[in-house]
């Protein structure tokens, strides 16, 4: 059962979309993306001298007429795209907006997966620390994916890196990796995670999902003891106007640093706040960012 946000209209809009990659990858089966594999296809690739065993139908007789040499035409094959979606399921994604932030991350995950599945791509879901899915094929698999997501419970962040490593080890072919997280962690941690993905030669997109309270924390509270959702660490704060501004400045700075790092690493970056409209973000923002076409 898909979430309520997945209306038929929204699904039809998603069906028109396609994941776009910066590079071409080898697929495992026929699909909708140009592959590194040469062979049958529509898109002309190059010529090669005819060799015994080549299908004579691929001989370019025009070239033979002009040069009396036998050349065969080669085409880029269109194969499926291996897509790995890494979904942050730690407690920070569940706090504190009564699941709003997690819902946005989950819906984004489902939306992107649906786009990929409808293009006959292979989708695997890695929820570090709690779940590693098998490969999903075909549009109907979205329901299985949805069920799998529903059954998830918040994961412990201690197993986060290990979970990513395990997920990557099961992901044998290079392809597209979409990382969904709030990235509210020290940049070193982000770098570590991203480098693991980069090492797998993946075309990476990082989607930062923030809650409204991450952007404007403690709106109705001046003095507070803020508790880390994952570590239970406490910080006592008088959150007055100046400190509020200071926090906003820090968040802004953190995001800037994150963006700079990701850009330099060739990683596409987009940010969404949980209370924004999902469809708008998918159909407009991500298209502008080049993840979808």
């Amino acid at each position: 059962m898909l979430p309520q946000t997945f209306t038929p209209r929204y699904l039809r809009q998603l069906e028109l979309l396609k994941l776009r990659t910066q590079r071409t990858f080898l697929g495992t089966r026929q699909g909708g993306h140009l592959s590194l594999k040469r062979g049958h296809g529509i898109e002309f690739s190059d010529y090669r001298k005819y060799e015994l065993g080549d299908n004579p139908r691929h001989i370019d007789w025009g070239v033979y007429g002009r040069s009396e040499r036998l050349y065969v035409k080669r085409f880029q094959e269109e194969q499926d795209l291996p897509v790995l979606i890494v979904l942050d399921n730690t407690l920070s994604m569940h706090a504190p907006e009564q699941g709003q932030k997690w819902s946005m991350a989950r819906d984004l995950c489902l939306s992107l997966a649906y786009v990929a599945l409808m293009q006959h791509d292979t989708v695997r879901l890695c929820v570090p620390g709690s779940f590693m899915s098998p490969s999903y094929y075909g549009g109907r698999a979205i329901h299985q994916l949805s069920r799998d997501l529903e059954e998830l419970s918040p994961a412990d962040d201690k197993d986060f890196l290990l979970g990513i490593r395990q997920g990557l080890s099961a992901f044998r072919f290079p392809g597209v990796a979409i990382f969904l997280s709030d990235f509210l962690m020290p940049l070193e941690n982000v770098e570590t995670m991203m480098n693991m993905l980069r090492a797998k030669n993946l075309d990476i997109t990082a989607l930062q999902v923030l809650g409204r309270s991450d952007v404007e924390p403690l709106r109705d509270t001046q003095d507070a003891i803020v508790v880390d959702s994952e570590t239970d660490a406490e910080v006592e704060l008088r959150f007055d106007a100046s400190i509020r501004d200071e926090y906003e400045h820090l968040l802004h700075e953190h995001n800037d640093t994150l963006r700079t790092f990701l850009t330099q690493a060739g990683i596409t970056y987009a940010q969404v706040v949980a209370d924004e409209d999902l469809a708008t973000f998918m159909l407009e923002n991500l298209m502008k960012k080049g993840l979808l076409q």
């Binding site: 403690l218 880390d228 959702s229 406490e234 400190i243 509020r244 906003e248 953190h254 970056y269 924004e276």
Partner: protein, 630 residues
């Protein structure tokens, strides 16, 4: 102190309020446990925004503390005496204050000393003090504006001069007892204060007595003049002289006759006689067979004025005037007893009429121009339209009734300032019992026994009324001197407009005069203002009324209490029934309310609106990055 509090106990709210504010801030800073995604960004703020380190109140705390102080100060009734402390300065300017003495080669009067005392007192006051200046003779009178600066008050002091009459210091002070606007009342007088309780310092009154009982204050005074045994042409002029002193004195009494020289009135010596007085002695000097056609001036001379072994310090009581004219008006006696039975025929300058009770009720006072009436043991249903003396009014109804009879009447109180009781020796007053009177509220008690008033006096509808609870008559002269003096005083007070009395007491108003009449003091120095109809200064006055021949009015002031410089008397300081109230305490409360409002607005603007506005601005600036496409 320019500042004060109406309700000082309200200051107890300060520690309570501050404690509550601190508690509120600390409580506010307890913080609510809030789970956030991650605290790694908050960690960077820990140092800046921690609240548990030490109570470090923010700027807003101090702003609200100021607000609290403003509110509590307002509640406590903080006032700043914009006009400073309000002080009343009362100067005794009665006759005795004109007594002169020699000091350091200079002649000074008690009033000069009073002014010096007043200046010293003014100099000791705070510069913000507002001062009201009063004199008390003949009545309490404010000099200058009601609130003067100290400089203005000093200037006004220079303009003050001593009067010729007695003071009403006790009455004046009793009025201050009901006036709450003065924080302190300073009195400078030659009288001694009698404090109502032992602790004089707790009183609002400060009394400066100009104490001087030295021999240089021995004073001889003319204490009475009269003409007796007169037949309208010649008579015997008798003057009483009293020595208020400790040593025997000698002198000369001159009697001068006024002579019309055509353009002015001059005096020529008619008689003179030497006298010698023992301390405390009153001597009568009679000049026989004097022509009564002219008025006379009596003057004590040969009293050393300066440089001699003795000088008379008070010159104003050394002169008296007397004028004897044919009586043209009459006094009507209503009652069973005739004027002869009352012994009134001895008073030859008055024409006496007699009406029985029945005649009065039938025809009223028929005599035109009757200056007064005596109702003897009878009270009419309505007050007569003339000055009247009611003797032992009989009946249980009417404007004046006799109530309780007191057989052994002993005087318990008397009004020393009323001319009725001038020179009355109360110890010699023999009444053979008296009735306690009950009269209308406008009649004041003049003489009282324990049970109530036995003499009432008052003015109503332009007429004077006197009530006696004991019998004044028969008039026997010297045989009953106290009663006789009382009777003469009564006639003098009841018929003050009569120009034909021998003399009138200073302060008398010539109410019968119209605006075209002129009253001129003959012994005035040139340039002195013409006297008004109220004769405040002893003198011989020439009264000119249209259609009438010029007439003389002799005005004297005889008051032993003023002439006796060695015992200037005492003043009972009244207990103050009201506490001092600052003039405008609300004024600062209003300002404090304004300050509190401004602080509240500042608090709202700087700590609510401005942060909201700034946050909104920043959010708008970053809206393209947070949640948008970066």
């Amino acid at each position: 102190m320019p500042f004060g509090l109406l309700y000082p106990l309200s200051l107890l709210l300060v520690p309570l309020g501050v404690a509550a504010l601190v508690w509120a801030y600390r409580k506010h800073g307890q913080g609510k446990r809030t789970v956030v995604s991650s605290t790694f960004l908050f960690e960077a703020l820990r140092e800046k925004a921690s609240f548990r380190k030490k109570f470090r109140p923010p700027l807003r705390f101090f702003l609200e503390l100021l607000l609290l102080f403003a509110l509590i100060a307002g509640a406590a009734g903080l006032y700043r005496n914009d006009s400073g402390e309000h002080v009343a300065l009362v100067l005794d300017n009665s006759l005795s204050m004109s007594a002169e003495y020699f000091r350091e080669g200079m002649v000074r009067s008690r009033f000069d000393r009073a002014k010096v005392q007043a200046r010293t007192l003014i100099d000791s006051l705070a510069s913000t003090t507002q001062l009201s200046l009063f004199v008390v003779s003949p009545e309490l009178e404010q000099v200058g504006e009601s609130e003067m600066s100290l400089g203005e008050a000093k200037e006004r002091l220079d303009e003050l001069s001593v009067g010729y009459l007695a003071d009403n210091l006790a009455g004046a002070l009793s009025r201050f007892a009901y006036q709450p606007q003065y924080s302190r009342i300073y009195v400078v007088s030659d009288k001694k204060p009698v404090w109502p309780d032992e602790d004089a310092s707790s009183s609002s009154f400060s009394f400066r007595t100009l104490d001087d009982t030295s021999a240089t204050q021995d004073n001889i005074a003319l204490s009475q003049v009269r003409i007796s045994s007169g037949d309208n042409k010649e008579g015997n002029l008798t003057a009483s002289l009293t020595l208020y002193g400790n040593e025997a004195k000698q002198g000369t009494l001159e009697v001068k006759r006024y002579v019309n020289t055509g353009s002015s009135w001059q005096t020529s010596l008619a008689r003179s006689a030497s006298f010698s007085l023992e301390p405390g002695e009153t001597k009568e000097m009679t000049f026989k067979e004097l022509s009564l056609e002219s008025p006379y001036r009596l003057e004590l001379t040969s009293l050393a004025r300066s440089g001699g072994a003795w000088s008379d310090p008070l010159a104003r009581d050394n002169v008296a005037w007397i004028s004897h004219r044919k009586a043209e008006e009459s006094i009507t006696v209503v009652g069973k007893r005739s004027p002869a039975e009352l012994g009134l025929l001895k008073l030859s300058h008055v024409q006496w009429q007699h009406l029985s009770q029945q005649q009065y009720e039938e025809q009223g006072l028929t005599e035109e121009g009757s200056s007064a009436a005596i109702f003897d043991r009878y009270i009419p249903a309505e007050l007569p339209k003339t000055n009247a003396l009611f003797l032992l009014p009989e009946g249980s109804s009417g404007p004046l009734v006799s109530k309780v009879f007191v057989p052994d009447a002993e005087l318990s109180a008397w009004n020393t300032t009323h001319p009725l009781l001038s020179y009355v020796n109360f110890s010699a007053l023999s009444m053979n019992g008296a009735y306690v009177l009950e009269g209308p509220t406008w009649m004041e008690e003049e003489l009282s026994v324990e049970e109530g008033p036995i003499v009432l006096a008052g003015e109503q509808g332009g007429y004077r009324y006197l009530g006696f609870g004991f019998d004044l008559f028969p008039f026997t002269g010297k045989r009953a001197p106290a009663l006789s003096v009382l009777a003469l005083n009564a006639f003098g007070w009841l018929a003050p407009t009569s120009h034909h009395s021998l003399y009138v007491q200073a302060g008398t108003t010539l109410s019968s005069l119209d605006s075209t009449s002129t009253v001129t003091g003959l012994d005035r120095a040139e340039g002195e203002p013409t006297e008004s109809s109220r004769l405040l200064v002893p003198d011989l006055y020439l009264v000119k009324e249209p259609g009438k021949s010029p007439d003389f009015v002799a005005v004297n002031f005889f008051d032993g209490s003023e002439s006796n410089l060695l015992e200037s008397g005492s003043v009972l300081i009244p207990p103050r029934t009201v506490s001092f109230e600052p003039s405008s305490p609300q004024l600062l409360s209003e300002r404090l309310a304004h300050v509190a409002l401004v602080l509240l607005l500042l608090d709202f603007f700087f700590f609510v609106l401005l942060p909201l506005f700034r946050s909104k601005q920043r959010r708008e600036l970053r809206s393209g990055e947070i949640g948008g496409v970066a």
